[in-house]
Assembly symmetry: C2
Homo-oligomer: 242 residues x 2
């Protein structure tokens, strides 16, 4: 069931997006938030109706979501595959894998411009905290890791990130929104950890990098767990199956 009266994805992130991308973003975040339950069968016509568009952009959206493993395109509709904790762990496997790879490459190049860019982003994150802007914080957080990855010029590492990015985005977005409501105080820890990243890259210190990578992972993993529980509690009251 698509709750189109209550959009979860920030409108302002969609300024340059096509109709298909908009739909993909909204359906994606609703799947990840658990609003659309696992096992739900989405049909092109139904989605087209819900979003008041034709099947063409819906089709595009479903293809996108399928490439992200969020739905499986079958003969009669797209079956929703919600993220499990196993999936999230696996996503972070990949993130650690590629960020470690990127770090190894960064070690043998001039990282000064990158460090400067990353510092800027951390400052932005601080401002986002000050103004309690969860969405902006999530955006900067994502941008931070993206900037590191783009720090080396590597087409296929970029490709992996490009595929991971949308899900990460929704995940971080939802998690940050909840965190801003629940426990704002531990954002200092997030900032600290990002600073640790920067230090690791700047000092080209493998151990420090590993440490901050896993730190970050544990941190997010914990939040995700919380998100999961909250979401599931919420949904029990909210979701009325067709």
């Amino acid at each position: 069931m698509v709750l189109d009266q209550e959009r979860l994805y920030p409108e302002k992130w969609l300024v340059r997006a096509s109709t298909g991308e908009r739909i993909a973003c909204e359906v994606r975040i609703q799947i990840i938030a658990g609003v659309i339950e696992s096992g739900t069968v989405l049909s092109e016509n139904k989605l087209a109706n819900d979003f008041d568009v034709s099947r063409s952009p819906v089709r595009e959206a479903l293809k996108l979501l399928a490439s992200e493993n969020l739905v499986r395109l079958e003969r009669m509709g797209a079956v929703v595959h919600a993220l499990t904790e196993k999936h999230i762990t696996e996503m972070y496997d990949v993130r650690i894998l590629i960020e470690t790879f990127v770090f190894e490459r960064l070690v043998s190049q001039n990282v000064n411009p990158l460090i400067k860019e990353l510092s800027k982003i951390v400052q932005m994150m601080k401002v986002a905290i000050d103004y309690s802007d969860a969405d902006e914080f999530a955006h900067q957080d994502l941008l931070f890791h993206e900037t590191i990855i783009q720090g080396i010029d590597h087409a296929y590492i970029s490709m992996i990130w490009k595929n991971l990015r949308p899900i990460m985005e929704s995940l971080i977005l939802l998690s940050m929104r909840q965190r801003f409501r629940a426990n704002v105080e531990d954002f200092s820890r997030v900032i600290e950890n990002h600073q640790l990243y920067i230090d690791a890259i700047n000092q080209k210190d493998r151990q420090l990098m590993n440490q901050s990578l896993h730190h970050n992972f544990d941190d997010v993993q914990q939040t995700i767990d919380q998100l999961w529980r909250t979401q599931q509690t919420l949904n029990k009251g909210e979701v009325t199956n067709d």
Copy 2:
């Protein structure tokens, strides 16, 4: 320019494919083979005409190719980005990355069923050599690595493979065809190397794994280089730009 009178992609691999996938496969291999030159602008209408279909499946195909970084979708057409040697090196970076990851996981599980499956595939490869079936050999080669990767149950490692697979397929296919024409004798080395893979997994020997991984890489890299030179020489005589 699309030479549709001379299809490079094996028809029999397309039995279950949609029109869009067919077009993607054919255009992909023509880009990788250098038949469609880098910088060429492909328009949906033109491709639809060439393949005698409507724009819908062509659109689907172009989206696919864009996700593989083979074309870049711009306002006025899809610009072809041929593979450079750098790209191919980077692809093998990723392959080594994920296959190493997979190996580490395999170490802590029962690999007997996998070993059996891999042995079967190597036998198939031998038969393919005996009957000089380059396409079948390429297919089995690809299947070999795919089987290893599917040996661990990991959604996002699978995702990476799914994204890499089409390009690898074309690359290996072209390279094997040429190799069958030029130097059939060194296929025994390829077989040997695959046997080495199996041994490494079976004995859970990290060093052996690393060795065979890089062996395989060097081997293919070398072939690719040859392919490149041949293809470029060929194209100089063949390609007549509109």
